[in-house]
Amino acid sequence: MAQSFRVSDLTGIQVRPARLWTHSLSWILFVAGIALYAHFSILRHRENPEDRVIPSVTQLVQGLKSSVLEPAEEDDPLDPGASLIQQVRHSMIWKDTASSARRFFIALLLLVPAILIGLHMAVFPYAGAFFLRFVLFFDKIVALSLLPILFVVFGIDEWSKIMLMVIGVAPTLMLDSYNIASGVPKEQIVKAFTLKSSNLDVAYRIVLKQVLPQLINSVRLNLKPLALFLFAGEMIASTDGLAYRIAIMRRHMGMDIIIPYLLWVALLLFTLDALLRFTNRRLHPWYQPH
């Protein structure tokens, strides 16, 4: 039932905006941001046509093309007759994305045990007593300051960066899943025991099953700190990767490559988040957070 729009609706709570409004309003900030960027870019280019600090659209497109079609400068150039697919496979952005993604997903895999430890901490009192205080303390250590130690222990290659990510995010995930799993009412657990379930049954078939959607949401929220640690590790010591390329480009003001890379990383993380959100909804349609 369409209602007539009044200006006071903008500050109202009991309103139902028309679909047209909800869609178009959400794009306004994007448009405003792009307009602001374009304004400053044109201003700088008028003063100095070769400006690289705020690249123009042509410079950005050129940067995008060179990262998607041309191999990284440390690699050998391709044969001139290579097809488009081959060019993309050998391109700089493919190489960097592949190495960064490999580190990211290995770390994510290594974090699954952390979530399970948090679950055990909540359900098994001895596990809780053993882990809780230490994890609460360890969580407060700033992981980045451990990086020099990690370099010594794990070498300067892949593992130090992966362990930085794991050590940085594991305490948060442990504490979060501990809190979430503690929220399961104790009556359910007692009831399950009266129905002859074993300890492991209660932990995995009762508690884990019902808190899984919340755990997946917790992982979604921790994608950002995970990416942050990945970038920190790559910027400090690396031979390849998305943040490595950004650090190198920074040395000679290569903003025409940095900005596309930035947007590419944002797109990747956004897609991963959307994928997790979608999987969560499909697997657990019964989960209504209110």
Partner: protein, 313 residues
């Protein structure tokens, strides 16, 4: 310079206000290119990469010194230069460290091995810890005081090559934006003269080993006096304006700058779309231009050093 009041005195003499701000090196270059600051100290390589290649016309006002052993290629286990390809090398890529490494290979006839070098970009803040802590890292290229720290703490590490073998190639310069110098009210010229005057007065004191000057400078750069003196030992300071002016007007500067600009072009440091090394041209005091005439982005101006030499500042 600022702390001891020398700069203020010179600034007052010329009626300008000079503010000295402390930045991290990379941040200072960013600020200079973004035109947030008017002048900056940098090496000749960065003078080409950053402002010149980004279209910000800059002028070299003072040639301060050259690295005469401050930058070095370090290796342990008696690894020789010929054995470098294939071993991961810790260095800060796209800086004078990579330039030094390349010159080391070329001067030893190993330039065909250059594409086989495996470079591991390591931030300067972590390179000491990473090299010393993990013995499997065999090669590093860095600068003093990090070089001194590494050599002191690990007897098995030797210097394979350092900048004393490539004199006059890694220069430290004071660079001012050309449009600041050309300001119609003349304040840019006054600024340049004031800074040049203060500079040579300070440098004279440091060269004369004036203890107060050295401890003041060391404190300002966050170093101990011993470490600062160690760096001074391997820095060739153009302590008299005559020496600096002579070098700036000579032909050796052109040769060395040519090596540097070829390096920058080969590594794409002049810009992604720059088609030839001549697209970023350098103008010398005698009017000679390296590169295309209408693409001059970096100018070397020996006039302030000359005025200082003649005592006319």
């Amino acid at each position: 310079m600022a702390k001891s009041g020398i700069l203020k005195r010179w600034a007052d003499k010329y009626g300008v206000v000079i503010k000295v701000q402390r930045f991290d090196y990379a941040a200072s270059l960013d600020a200079f290119v973004a035109k947030n600051i008017d002048a900056c100290t940098m090496t000749n390589m960065e003078a080409l990469d950053m402002p010149a290649a980004a279209g910000v016309d800059s002028t070299v006002v003072i040639v301060g010194d050259y690295s005469n052993g401050n930058d070095a290629v370090l290796a342990r286990n008696n690894v020789a230069l010929a054995q470098l390809p294939g071993k991961p090398i810790l260095l800060v890529q796209k800086t004078v460290s990579e330039y030094l490494l390349e010159r080391a290979m070329v001067l030893n006839g190993l330039d065909n091995q250059l594409p086989r070098l495996k470079l591991l970009n390591t931030s300067d803040s972590d390179i000491v810890g990473a090299f010393l802590g993990d013995k499997s890292n065999q090669v590093a290229v860095t600068w003093k005081p990090l070089v001194s720290e590494i050599l002191d703490q690990d007897r098995g590490v030797k210097s394979l090559f350092d900048s004393s073998r490539i004199p006059e190639e890694i220069l430290d310069l004071l660079v001012v934006r050309t449009d600041v110098l050309k300001r119609p009210d003349g304040s840019g010229l006054k600024f340049a003269k004031a800074v040049a005057g203060a500079w040579y007065e300070t440098v004279a004191q440091i060269a004369a080993a004036n203890a107060q000057a050295i401890s003041g400078s060391a404190a300002a750069s966050g170093d101990s006096v011993a470490s600062y003196k160690e760096q001074l030992r391997t820095t060739y300071l153009y302590s008299t304006p005559q020496a600096a002016a002579q070098f700036a007007q000579g032909s050796e500067l052109k040769q060395k700058m040519d090596l540097v600009r070829q390096f920058c072009f080969r590594h794409g440091l002049l810009g992604q779309n720059v088609q030839s090394v001549d697209d970023v041209a350098v103008l010398y005091p005698d009017g000679a231009i390296q590169g295309l005439k209408d693409r001059v982005r970096l100018r070397v101006d020996a006039s302030y050093m000359q005025l200082a030499a003649q005592g006319k500042l």
